[in-house]
Symmetry: C2
């Protein structure tokens, strides 16, 4: 027998049998895409609200409404992506990934590995998502790109010449570390959610700045990073997903292609780091 | 008897007896400050490398050196703050807070509360740290403020008129939620690390933009947020800390005071949200 009280007293373990629901803006991959990749790689079914665009909009708007103060056990939501799992409703991309990864077999369930992977994912998302967004919106999210274009050009030049090499260099350094276990995967010689995160970061960056990524790849400085990208892409479940209609095309999201933003860029890469593995 | 093998096989629990070490740039509070506040509130001793500035610089530089690929169990470090606890070395501010808070009695040790608090902390750090940094460096971290001043003025205006109200409104919404348990603390009617995070966010914002924060506070729109700020400030351990020499003055860090950045700002606050608790 089910009663409201019984429902409220559910433990976390009870949620594990509940379906996973991804609630995000429809019609673009956006920040929802990292979450989709975890489900797809794990082969775990999930309800993706973006498949029904009209209701998806309304559902997102309902959650982020300033009048919506959550419920007895959940806090209010500022912005999507949102994950609903049983009675739990959470937001913030790295937080949702942290919740899902051990449940989907893509991270250790306990121990220090949880924190090592989380720091890696936070760093990748800082470099390739948060800073990427600033390349086309350096002044304000509330303004159109066209109203901040000179600033976007200035910012993109610095981003491509300084920041992308910094973050790719970091990923290569992680792959070169003993803790990666041999340059195949980022941590522990095993595919984890951090590898999926890096894949999507690089895939989106390549969509936004194809000429720069080509030059960067051809330099050979970040060889293991690009090899990992290819390795993730060829995972059977990922490969099927990418070929399916479930994979939405890029558009007006975080990753945008404005060719003028990489026009005057001079990629000057540092000498490759000495191999230290 | 201690052998290298025994050391490598240490479990996480063994680390709990080890001292906590905060490794961060000396001479400014910066991103290290949120970590200090957790230790100070908990009354737990910690080694703060910033107290010995010369060696602190060298230690930070050693960790972030591109040639440093970590060790057998730890991944490389991109940037400070860094936490060393026993054999574990981690970075990324929200990750360090996530690790420390349950150990210091400032967050639940398990269950969904971990994720509710983490999402809250990530959101506050997005709004008041990451976006704050962009107000004085909207083009590039590598350029001086003086070389991106017109852009900084434009960005700051949008930040103060649109983003600060958004994030303060979110904090007020959290306090209005049932899950906060009565507008005293952000979650579960108990002081957690999220409250300390909000305190430091608001304290730094007030240093950077005092005129704007004064107007925002006087509006009465975010009453519970400012009350929480005061409540944290008056906690005995926090109050002693703030009065001590251990609390470093703000300077050229995330929170910077350039009066020209709030000159042309028109704070237009929305109507207060209807109380829904």
């Amino acid at each position: 027998m089910s009663s409201p009280d019984a429902k409220r007293l559910k433990t976390d373990e009870d949620d594990d049998a509940a379906p996973y629901e991804l609630i995000y803006w429809p019609r673009l991959p956006g920040r929802g895409e990292w979450i989709r990749l975890l489900f797809e790689q794990a082969g775990v079914p999930y309800i993706d609200h973006a498949r029904t665009p009209d209701t998806a909009y309304k559902t997102v708007l309902k959650y982020i409404d300033p009048e919506n103060v959550g419920d007895a056990t959940n806090l209010p939501i500022l912005a999507p992506p949102i994950l609903k799992h049983g009675d739990l409703v959470i937001h913030q991309l790295p937080n949702i990934l942290l919740y899902l990864a051990p449940r989907l077999g893509l991270a250790p369930k306990e121990g220090n590995g949880v924190f090592l992977l989380n720091q890696l994912v936070l760093t990748l998302l800082d470099g390739f998502v948060n800073e990427m967004h600033e390349t086309h919106h350096p002044i304000a999210t509330s303004l159109y790109y066209e109203h901040q274009k000179p600033e976007a050009k200035r910012r993109s030049k610095h981003y491509l010449e300084e920041r992308i090499p910094k973050f790719l260099g970091y990923a290569q350094r992680v792959l070169d570390s003993k803790a990666s276990g041999g340059r195949t995967w980022l941590y522990g010689n095993k595919l984890t959610y951090a590898d999926l995160v890096l894949f999507q970061c690089l895939d989106g960056t390549n969509f936004a700045f194809p000429d720069s990524v080509k030059k960067i790849q051809e330099s050979g400085n970040y060889r293991s990073v690009f090899e990992l990208y290819k390795r993730v892409k060829e995972q059977p479940n990922i490969s099927s997903y990418l070929a399916s209609e479930r994979r939405l095309p890029y558009g007006e999201g975080i990753f945008r292609h404005y060719s003028e933003l990489e026009e005057d860029v001079q990629i000057k890469l540092p000498e490759p780091r000495s191999a230290t593995l």
